[in-house]
């Protein structure tokens, strides 16, 4: 096989893995949109907040230390302990669940029956609020996420595939972290689908998404389902925050990954879990392949910044509900 073709395959593989990361972010959007018709602008900030919290807990940082020091004139910054990763993840999950409850209790319970645009505006407010809280709680320094996830290219894959091409081919270069992300995402997606399709709560979630009155009449508590869904979105945000944070450090630009999820959602549809995955993969592969075949040689490169949006735009013209979406036209 020619080296060019093999490099093309490598580009596709790397595109798929990048797509998985996009899909992870998009998943959180889909969950909330599906169950409550809310387009949650704060999803990216939730990923940032979750990652910040995880790092903060692991490093034994005192939350709100700047505030405490300013008020009481103390000098506390660290508890002086380090929390093992698994325990810290468990704590972070608890905090995301508490956050879900608070959002439901203090924001959306008061907005039941409002126009989607108002709910959307509320999530924008929520995004800025959460960004501020994250800053206040854990400080605004760039942090590294020391979860012990493998980094760098996989030598094993390189050696394994070395023999495929000629002398000028050195095997596939695949980031170990991307491989981990793929596995984690696969587990997450399978469990989310199993949850949505087979469990009582998943059925209730679909019911709530469809008709509030009918859901109430069969014994479903709307509040419970909404808290549940926001908690799940929080957990998905944590996973996305961990993966992106491990890749590029935990910093405030992390909240901008939400923007990368938008074209994924337009492609896959706002209401479909498999759609988020397929959409993510198409965008990931599409932008890498476009860069490799057309962007870099003819357009001066850096096409990855806009390719996804262009693809989404084309989709909007020909299939506005996305690949797997349903009746979003009436809803939005």
């Amino acid at each position: 096989m020619s080296a060019d073709f093999l490099y093309g395959i490598e580009v596709v593989i790397n595109g798929l893995m990048a797509g998985v990361l996009y899909a992870l972010v998009a998943l959180g959007f889909v969950l909330i949109f599906k169950a409550s018709g809310i387009f949650n602008y704060a999803q990216g900030v939730m990923a940032l907040f979750a990652a910040l919290t995880l790092v903060g807990i692991m490093e034994g940082q005192v939350p709100f230390s700047h505030l405490i020091n300013a008020i009481f004139g103390t000098e506390v910054h660290h508890f002086g302990w380090e929390v093992p990763a698994l325990l810290a993840i468990a704590f972070t999950v608890l905090i995301m669940i508490a956050f879900a409850w608070a959002v439901q209790r203090f924001v959306f319970r008061h907005l039941v029956g409002q126009e989607p645009i108002i709910l959307f505006m509320a999530t924008i407010g929520l995004a800025y609020f959460l960004e501020g809280v994250g800053d206040l709680m854990w400080g605004s320094d760039i942090k590294t996420l020391a979860l012990g996830l493998p980094q760098g290219g996989s030598l094993w894959v390189e050696n394994l595939t070395n023999g495929l091409g000629g002398d000028d081919f050195y095997g596939f270069f695949i980031d170990k972290l991307d491989m981990v992300a793929t596995v984690v995402a696969a587990i997450l997606v399978v469990s989310l689908i199993a949850f949505a399709q087979y469990t009582k709560q998943g059925r209730a979630m679909r019911a709530v998404a469809d008709d509030h009155q009918a859901a109430l009449s069969v014994g479903i508590s709307l509040n419970y389902i909404w808290v549940l869904v926001w908690s799940l979105a929080g957990i998905v945000a944590l996973v996305a925050g961990v993966m992106w944070g491990a890749k590029s450090g935990v910093q405030f630009s992390l909240s901008l990954i939400a923007l990368k999820a938008l074209p994924v959602l337009m492609l896959g549809g706002f209401t479909s879990i498999p759609g988020a995955i397929v959409g993510g993969l198409i965008i990931g592969v599409g932008e890498k392949l476009f860069e490799y075949t057309i962007g870099a040689p003819y357009l001066g490169g850096a096409t990855e910044n806009w390719f996804a949006y262009m693809l989404a735009l084309i989709f909007l013209v020909f299939r506005p509900q996305g690949l797997f979406g349903e009746k979003i036209i009436e809803r939005v």
């Binding site: 949850f195 469990t199 059925r203 019911a207 009449s217 479903i220």
Partner: protein, 272 residues
């Protein structure tokens, strides 16, 4: 306390038991408007109880009070011998009170089967994890639930549309699916809000037959609201008549038919 009411057997052989649902001096206001004014009515176990009245009489409000969608400002609601505190609709549903809606509230995006399965939600007790991996108690539970749902599907003769998304069904069939979903909950009390509204004669006859059969075969207590006087009189054991939020008549169809107040207010028939 009310007197204890003796069970009796109807001419067609059904047993009517004690009081299942007792509404005592219910008053419901929306701002300054009194939708229900000091109404008391009871529903006995195993009977078909109708609430009739002209438009705006407060029938639907009454049904909404029973099903917890509205909480009355005054009065007591007694269910199965206990006073029911103010509740949310989903809590009432979990007590075993199922309902249908005048304007049909179905999950339009789901299939008929999935819609009816949601009626079983309150009966699912196994853990989330076991349900997700379809094992252990969850599996037997699911199989059991499916059997019940299939029986109801057979019963209401909707086998042919089991897998059809509800959004595509015609009006009459939607009404039937909604009844099926309410039945799937195996309710102790079934509330039907105008089950025959907007139907032609044939569909009305079908629906009447289903209501009678449900009551007969499952022994379900049914309370229904209906406009069509003729249908109501044939169906029900006892009828409450409402007008302008007040109760103006209560009794067997024959008693109600001969009640002058009812004739005045509802039937509009001249008498001298």
């Amino acid at each position: 306390m009310k007197d204890i009411i003796e069970p009796y057997v109807t001419p067609d052989g059904r047993t009517i038991g004690g009081v299942l649902m007792d509404m005592r001096n219910i008053t419901l206001r929306f701002g300054g408007v009194e939708a229900i004014k000091d109404i008391s009515l009871d529903i006995r176990e195993g009977e078909i109880r109708a609430i009739i009245g002209p438009n705006g009489a407060g029938k639907s409000s009454m049904l909404n009070v029973i099903s917890g969608f509205y909480n009355p400002q005054e009065g007591e609601v007694w269910f199965r011998g206990e006073e029911r505190p103010p509740m949310k609709p989903y809590q009432v549903a979990r007590l075993g009170i199922a309902r249908t809606f005048q304007n049909i509230a179905l999950f339009e995006g789901m299939t008929v089967l999935d819609n009816i399965m949601t009626g079983r939600l309150t009966h699912m007790k196994s853990g989330m994890f076991w349900q997700a991996i379809w094992a252990g108690r969850a599996e037997t539970e699911e199989v059991h639930n499916r059997e019940i749902v299939e029986r109801i599907i057979d019963f209401l003769e909707i086998q042919a549309i089991r897998k059809t998304p509800v959004g595509r069904l015609p009006y009459g069939l939607k009404k039937r699916v909604e009844l099926a979903r309410a039945l799937a909950a195996e309710p102790k009390l079934l509330l039907l809000d105008e089950p025959m509204a907007g139907m032609n004669v044939e569909e009305k006859e079908d629906m009447s037959r289903f209501i009678l059969d449900v009551n007969d075969e499952f022994g379900t207590t049914i309370a229904l609201i209906e406009h069509d006087m003729g249908v109501v009189m044939d169906l029900s054991d006892r009828v409450v008549v409402m007008d302008y939020g007040r109760k103006i008549g209560d009794g067997t169809p024959d008693e109600v038919r001969n009640n002058e107040q009812v004739i005045d207010a509802y039937l509009g028939v001249a008498h001298d």
